[in-house]
Symmetry: C2
């Protein structure tokens, strides 16, 4: 299958332009699966909950519908990161003056999410489990675990940016059978690209880390993104790596079925040799 | 504290010479903790269970007693890898012709172990949980989990060689509070040294990976060890790295209390931000 990593430079708050820029790159190649950055349509550097409310989307919104249309037209799959608005998805306890009582909370929840889209529409979502830094001010921690989606082209799981830091993320996906980790990111620190080699080795999975480039300076919070989007094989080999400063799209041909094989040698099977009874996790 | 990694070139089966060579290096420096390779006294490339029986040691044997003597004389700590013989440590079920019955098995068990020695003698042991390749023919899988030992110089845990491949090993040690992972190894593949950077970052712990050098060619099974012993900091920095082909000892001064701090920034605490209810492990 042909896997495309779509490295973009979003302008904060300009959803229309950000989606158009991504589509411009996506229309320039042929691929079976396109992986876009985290929060690719909104930008990352939120300064207030009001901005999140304004820029978040539900399933009927512009970005989702545009990507569904693209996937239908091209008969392909797309993974993209966005700010997800979910209305009434949970009950919260509110403390009153004299007693504690359960009330239904009608405030929407906002997640740092990714969606997996196919020719048939929305296939699944992932909500970022490990929120980084000021994301904790604006987003609710993900509540869907690390789901795997069994597509005709292979078994796909998602994690978002800082999730790489927790080996439990990629391990959960591998234990669910994922062949490929689609990994939208907005990286500012230098560690992730090399660490993903370890993630792929230790799980014998492929990974597509798609990062953004550019700078977001808002209210003196200055973030510079490192680009370096990459595809790593199930043997820990870097199959493609993007520049650190330019929007670009790279297509890699990979055989996801290779990730079905968890044998390391004639004596060792990666997952069968785990020994959970000896771990403290 | 001063941490010494002791990279040696063991000759298979020559325990006396291998221990003497290690002591020669160890006596050439001052350090609070010395970390030696996996199976440093016997060599690694076993060809039969008979060899394991012959070269394995219990607590009263030469290597253990020599290291205890060294630790007493120098008022220091030592971690070393060896083939551990354990008599009568478990009951095994034996199937008979007509019925299944429990019988006491008086055969010793043999572990690929490491010992932590101090001025007061044996402090603790670790038995390799993840056996690699032909080790499965000769050793029993470790049954002690990943214990942590709280010493005056800091909290020390051990893992052995291939355990690095499983993120659960270092994570278990970090969750037990370890500041430093003492990591005796006999590496033949190139991946571990760089992957240990990820292990230290993702757990905010120090690690001392001590590998051996040299070649062992026995019965056409030819192993070349990669040396490259190293100390990595709790921030993923390589503090020292040895050559890939020479015996040597390197001493690094580190402050293990730094590994007590698990904060990543004002919003994130490494261990507190784990979300086990979202994992499948």
């Amino acid at each position: 299958m042909k896997l495309a990593i779509v490295q973009t430079n979003p302008i904060f708050g300009n959803i229309l332009k950000n989606v158009e820029d991504a589509l411009g790159l996506m229309n320039s190649v042929e691929a079976n699966l396109f992986v876009l950055p985290e929060l690719f349509n909104t930008g990352y550097n939120f300064q207030s909950q009001e901005e999140v409310k304004e820029l978040s989307e539900d399933d009927s919104s512009f970005t989702m519908q545009t990507m569904i249309e693209f996937a239908k037209k091209k008969s392909c799959y797309v993974v993209f990161g966005y700010a997800e608005k979910v209305i009434c998805d949970q009950y919260k306890k509110q403390r009153t003056t004299n007693q504690e009582q359960s009330t239904i909370n009608h405030e929407p929840s906002y997640y740092n999410s990714s969606a997996l889209i196919g020719p048939e529409g929305i296939i699944g979502k992932y909500r970022k489990v490990h929120l980084y830094y000021r994301e904790k001010l604006f987003f609710t921690p993900g509540n869907l675990g690390f789901p795997m989606f069994d597509l005709p082209l292979g078994k796909i799981g998602m994690m978002i940016c800082f999730d790489w830091f927790y080996p439990e993320s990629a391990r959960s996906l591998a234990l669910h059978g994922a062949h490929l980790i689609a990994h939208p990111a907005n990286l500012v620190l230098p560690y992730c690209p090399d660490a993903m080699i370890t993630r792929c080795l230790e799980n014998k999975v492929f990974a597509a880390t798609t990062n953004r480039v550019g700078v977001e300076n808002r209210n003196d919070i200055n973030l510079t993104y490192i680009g370096t989007s990459q595809v790593v094989s199930n043997r820990g080999k870097i199959l493609a790596r993007c520049s650190d400063d330019k929007p670009e799209i790279v297509v890699v041909e990979i055989d996801l079925m290779q990730a079905e094989n968890k044998r390391l040698n004639e004596f060792n099977d990666l997952l069968a040799d785990r020994r959970p009874e000896q771990y403290t996790l």
